[in-house]
């Protein structure tokens, strides 16, 4: 039986989906700016972040209204609480993209330290995790959500690799320190984005299965990215 409430839940999911597409796009635009050493992408990311923030507020308000007026139960309740959490994660992803853009603006002032290889790879992985976590949400696909969580290790490993590599540049040439630190930070921001995608994956599993896996999911070692 289709309920009026279902319409409202659909609106909620559509808003979240749109927010996710903005967040995801902001990662790729930010990295594109870094790769192509082009300032023109900066404004786009900043603009999208503003829109993402507005959507975060809108989604919060919609969720509060649905909680108060519909008193949802069971799967409806889990959908709304998951939406609240996912929206905060997406908002943070938007912030991280802005952080990357800020690093980029600094990096553009000086010559490239080294060719970018691992950072774009990491960005592709992180972006893929965000995309799949949202696909898992839309399709209520717990297996895909779990897969997203498992992929976080890959991003963490790449981040460690980037860190070690750049460290050698820093040791060789102290004048590269500023550039090196900025690159390390970009890696760090991407690593955080992957963490947010992982959190979304966990939220999706809770929404679909009613089971909490965060904080004690045996396959994961959360120490490595805290």
């Amino acid at each position: 039986m289709e309920r009026q409430f279902d319409e409202e839940l659909k609106t909620l999911q559509e808003k979240l989906l749109y927010m996710a597409s903005l967040a995801q796009e902001s990662i790729s635009i930010a990295i594109k700016g870094l790769k192509e050493r082009n300032e023109k992408y900066t404004d786009k990311v900043m603009e999208q972040e503003k829109e993402i923030n507005l959507l975060d507020i809108e989604i919060d308000e919609l969720c509060m209204r649905l909680l108060a007026l519909r008193q949802p139960m069971a799967v409806d309740l889990r959908l709304i609480t998951a939406s609240l959490r996912i929206s905060s994660e997406l908002e943070r992803i938007g912030d991280q993209s802005v952080n990357i853009v800020e690093r980029t603006l600094e990096l553009l002032k000086v010559p490239l330290l080294k060719p970018l290889i691992d950072i774009p790879r990491m960005a592709t992985l992180a972006e893929g995790m965000v995309r799949d976590s949202i696909t898992a949400f839309v399709n209520r696909d717990a297996a895909l959500a779990r897969n997203v969580c498992e992929r976080d290790d890959e991003v963490d490993n790449l981040n460690d690799q980037i860190f070690r590599e750049i460290l050698t540049y820093m040791m060789q040439d102290p004048s590269s320190l500023k550039r090196a630190v900025d690159l390390i930070l970009v890696g760090r921001h991407l690593e955080r984005i992957a963490d947010h995608a992982t959190n979304i994956g966990e939220d999706v599993i809770y929404f679909v299965k009613g089971k909490t896996i965060k904080h004690h999911f045996e396959k994961f070692n959360y120490d490595s990215h805290s």
Binding site: M1, M73, A74, V75, L77
Partner: protein
Amino acid sequence: MDPKTKIESRHLDFYYGHKQALKDINIIAPANKVTALIGPSGCGKSTFIRTLNRMNDVIPGARVDGEILLDGVSIYSPKIDVVELRTKVGMVFQKPNPFPKTIFDNIAYGLRIGGMKHRKKIAEVVEKSLRKAALWEEVKDRMRENAFALSGGQQQRLCIARSLAVDPEVMLFDEPCSAIDPIATAKIEDLIQKMKQNYTVVIVTHNMQQAARVSDYTAFLMLGELIEYGDTPQIFTNPKNKLTEDYITGRFG
């Protein structure tokens, strides 16, 4: 430790003539907890709660199979005195049904029937019962007024006080708030939650939010069958059965 079982049904079947209203119901109501029964109209929840103090006995053609155990003793055994059973297992109904007597006498009646003669003692128990039902402050100066002068919500609390006066162990509520306003409902719900310190409570309700608010355990019935029984938070956040899910989210009804 699991809470102690106060009252339970085992393989309970119930028939109105040829029509089977309950099929193999196994429900436990733990001591000092609130157990809620929910389900669509005609699912058998009222029939079930009425088997717990044999209120169905008077219905012609009604028949019970299986057992209801109160503290492990079958209440349908021939040795059981039904009047005594109903003092132990009190009941509050959908519509408040005070006696056409004064407020005082509504409560004193059961005491006198039970053989209490001492006036002062009766007055004491009346006051204590009214206090337990959170009604004393509102009626202490109106004890000689007719009970029908009270509002619906007050009448319902008077009925609760009347049941409490005879010192029951189990309290059954069959849709206790369906005929009263939200403020009075909140008072009754609050009362039910406080009552579990001293009593075991079973409540039938159409209002799922009410079940969620007041109960510790919830049983979902449909077409005379028990579909799911579990901790109330689990039932309302993560029901195991699709039928339960569909019912509590209003996808059918």
